[in-house]
Each structure stands twice: as C-alpha cells, then as structure tokens.
C-alpha cells in the first residue's frame, strides 16, 4: 500500500489502516457504502482508498441531495420561475443542475429571475423587501436541511408574510437506504452512516439496518481519521459477528437527534406517498411536502407544476453511480463529455457528487498510485 496524499495525523491513519488490515479474513471481499456525499468528498480528497486493503471497497451512496433530484423537478422549478412576478431563490449548488431545457442560469438568460441564496432566511428577507414579487424558495436537501425550511415557513407565518412560498423537494434518507438494501444489484457488508443528517434524526432510525438486514452501520464524522475509524468499527463488528448501530461521531451527533428540529419538520411538512429519485426511481414515503395547514406557503398549490417525468440523457449513467453499481470512472462520458464545467449528470455538478469529487481529486491519486507502482 502507498500513502499518496499525506494529511494531518497520517501516522494515526497508518495505524488504523494496519488494524483494519488485521481484521480482514483472507479471500473475503468487503463492500461498505458511505451514504453521504460529504464522506465521498473526504475519501477522494485524501485518497483514503489507498489506506485500505484491496479487498475492502467503498461504494458511494445516494446521500447528495443535489445529485438525486430528477430532471423533471428542475423543469418544474423553471416552469414556476417563468410565471410573471415570480422571483425564485435557490442554493448555489442547484444553479448548474441541468433540466431538460438547460439549468437555472440558462433559464435566467431567457428572462427568469432565479437568485442564489445561502439560507432560506435570505429568501424570506428578499420576500420582505420585494412585496410586489412572489418569492418562491427552491427547497432541497435531506433532514439536515428540512428543519431550516420548516423554521423559515414558521417565521413567515409569524410575520404574516404573504408573498413567500416553498417549492418543496426535501427528501428523507431512511427510505433511500432501504431501497438500496432491497436492490438485487448490490451486496453490501455495512454502512458508513451520514453525519449531519444524523445530528437531526439521531441514530435510532438506523436500527432496522442492524436488526432486519443484519448489517452494521457506523455514523461517522467527516475527517479522514473519522472515516478510517468507522471502517475499523465496521470491520470489528463483522469479525465479532455483530450487527449494531454505532456512533463514531458522538462529539456532534446526539443519539436521540435534535428533537426541536424534528418537531419543526413535523409541524410544517408531511410525507409524500412517493417521490422520484434520480437513479433509484420512485420510492414510497421518501420525500416531504407542505401540510395543508401551511398550504399558502406551498408553491405546488399556487402554481401549475407540469410534473412531467423526464428520462436522463442516454449517455448519462448517474443512476448507476448513485446506486453504487458503477464507479464514476466507469461511466461512458466521465471526464470526456461530462466534466464539472459542462456536467451532463448531477453527480458531476455538486462538490459532494461522486463524479465531481473523483474528477477533482481521485483521478490524480489513482494516476499517481499507478505511476508509483510502475516506477
């Protein structure tokens, strides 16, 4: 093994690497999925795969909210933004995600007003300052982000702001993990559990993974050592024949989650019967919509939303990448037709997307490893 990308505490990483290797049973292959895109980013940035024995493979999961938005929802957002008097707001990450007729920047070039915001609260302020405009916030994200949208809606209600609404695309992580566990394409040995989502939902919702599917899961922090430590904890569970939920990131993630945040979500939003995910298809109860009580803040009720399902471009294999069936570099258009500058698929857009992370960091590490092994 070669350590190509040194980082702080590289000695500790080597020690963990040795402990992980000592737990490997000869001839056995191990596949762990890191659910969260932030973990994918760390893994490629620091070349963590080079610290692992060859029979451990890390599979990148669907935990990048920008990546799993289906094209049809981008088209729906642009459709709303085109309505007279609408000022749409969106996180910067969404601006370059392609819809079937271009992204938000392309749409703005044709006359819409879609502005980048850091926080849904910025969006609410824009509504306050522009009473003659209808401000629609393009809400995306897992349970990490949904409380922020919910709190903003509660604030809008408190202030009696009438020209603010939410195009709600919030999704929930547990049904996606379950869909992956039920998928026949992939056999996993365990999960590196998401960090920030777990600050909100806590660790309890993962218990079915251990009890019903017999797989270990370790909620992990974002630093290189956190991830290696979590892989060690997964390997130890397998070695000892355990399948449990463990929390490596307890310095940030409380076991019970954030009850205030969960209450805010439950007050404002409810589960949709189903929602489409890029790559994973329609998943039951996997997304949130506004409750009737907050209907006046629901952009889907104010505006006609076409809701047309749009197939991904033929060349794009984001679906397979998101399911963990293909590695980014195995996609036909990776790094040629599809780059972070001209992304075809969502996985190349977000810095947490597996393809963008691999394009920016991983390919260099791999090349260097290959060169190092040749020389």
């Amino acid at each position: 093994m070669r350590f190509v990308d040194e980082f702080r505490d590289a000695d500790k990483a080597r020690a963990l690497s040795a402990k992980i290797t000592s737990l490997c049973e000869p001839g056995r292959e191990y596949k762990f999925m890191e659910v969260c895109g932030g973990h994918t980013h760390t893994i490629y940035k620091h070349g963590l795969e080079d610290y692992l024995p060859e029979n451990i493979t890390l599979i990148h999961g669907p935990g990048c909210p920008v990546c799993v938005i289906p094209m049809g929802r981008i088209d729906d957002a642009i459709h709303i933004a085109r309505r007279p008097g609408v000022l749409m707001t969106s996180f910067g990450d969404m601006m370059r995600v392609p819809g079937s007729g271009g992204n938000f920047f392309d749409s703005n070039a044709e006359g819409t007003n879609i502005r980048m915001v850091y926080s849904p609260l910025d969006s609410l302020k824009i509504a306050r300052q522009n009473p003659d405009q209808q401000v629609v916030f393009m809400a995306i994200g897992f349970e990490t982000t949904a409380p922020s949208t919910a709190m903003t809606v509660l604030r809008a209600a408190k202030e009696g702001i009438e020209n603010f609404s939410v195009f709600c695309n919030h999704i929930t992580i547990i049904p996606a993990i379950k869909a992956i566990l039920d998928s026949p394409d992939l056999r996993l040995d365990g999960f590196i559990g998401p960090g920030h989502v777990s600050t909100v939902i806590g660790c309890r919702p993962y218990e079915f993974i251990a009890s019903d599917y017999g797989k270990p899961i370790v909620v992990a922090g974002f630093e290189p050592l956190d991830i290696l430590q979590s892989i060690y904890m997964l390997m130890l569970q397998l070695k000892e024949g355990r399948s449990e939920v463990e929390n490596q990131y307890s310095r940030v993630v409380p076991w019970e989650g954030n009850l205030t945040a969960l209450r805010a979500i439950a007050e404002v939003m409810e589960l949709r019967p189903y929602f489409e995910w890029r790559g994973l298809g329609f998943i039951s109860h996997s997304a949130l919509r506004m409750r009737d009580k907050y209907a006046k803040y629901d952009a889907e009720l104010h505006y006609e939303v076409p809701g047309v399902r749009v197939a991904d471009p033929k060349a794009c294999q984001c679906g397979e990448v998101l399911k963990g069936v293909l590695k980014p570099w195995e996609c036909k258009v990776f790094g040629t037709a599809c780059t972070p500058e001209t992304p075809i698929g969502t996985c190349m857009v977000s810095p947490e997307g597996a393809c963008a992370a691999y394009y920016n960091f991983g390919r260099f590490t791999r090349t260097r490893v290959r060169e190092a092994s040749i020389s």
Binding site: C64, L121, T144, S148, H196, T199, V252, P351
Partner: protein, 90 residues
Amino acid sequence: MCLGIPGEVIEILTDRPDLARVDVSGVKRAINIGLLVEEGIKPGDWVLIHVGFALSKIDEAEAKAAMDFLEGIGKAYEDELAALRDSQIV
C-alpha cells in the same frame, strides 16, 4: 450547501433571541439558533452551522478540528464562506 461550518457565537440579538451573530473564519453574520433552544446558546459557544441555522452545539476543540479540515478542502468551503458573506437575514 451540504457543509456544516463551525462558528463562534458573538452575541444574541437583543430584539430577536432566536438569532445570534457568529464569527466564521472572520466572517461575522447573523444566523438562527432556534433549533438549539434546549441547549441555551450563549456568547462564546461554538455551533455547527448549516444554511443559516445552528444545527448542533460543539466544543471548541471540535470546532478547531472541523475548521482545519474545511480549510483543507478548498473550493467547496470557499464557496460556502462566500455564500455566507452574501447572507443578510436581518
């Protein structure tokens, strides 16, 4: 948008107890602390911030470690800080 960034609470806004001014790598902005009402956030505390909301209270050592890590990841963090700099929620 997926990053959680550490910030130090400088003050709680007097007219809005659900808002606090924080310092993130020298960028001072108002954020919402309403999700941490039970923690009783006060000046000097460190919090992990996501899209303008404090998501969890952390200790200073964790904040420093997270900051070192984020500064090491480069562009994604720079973009996040730039977005925070543009944020004007009050």
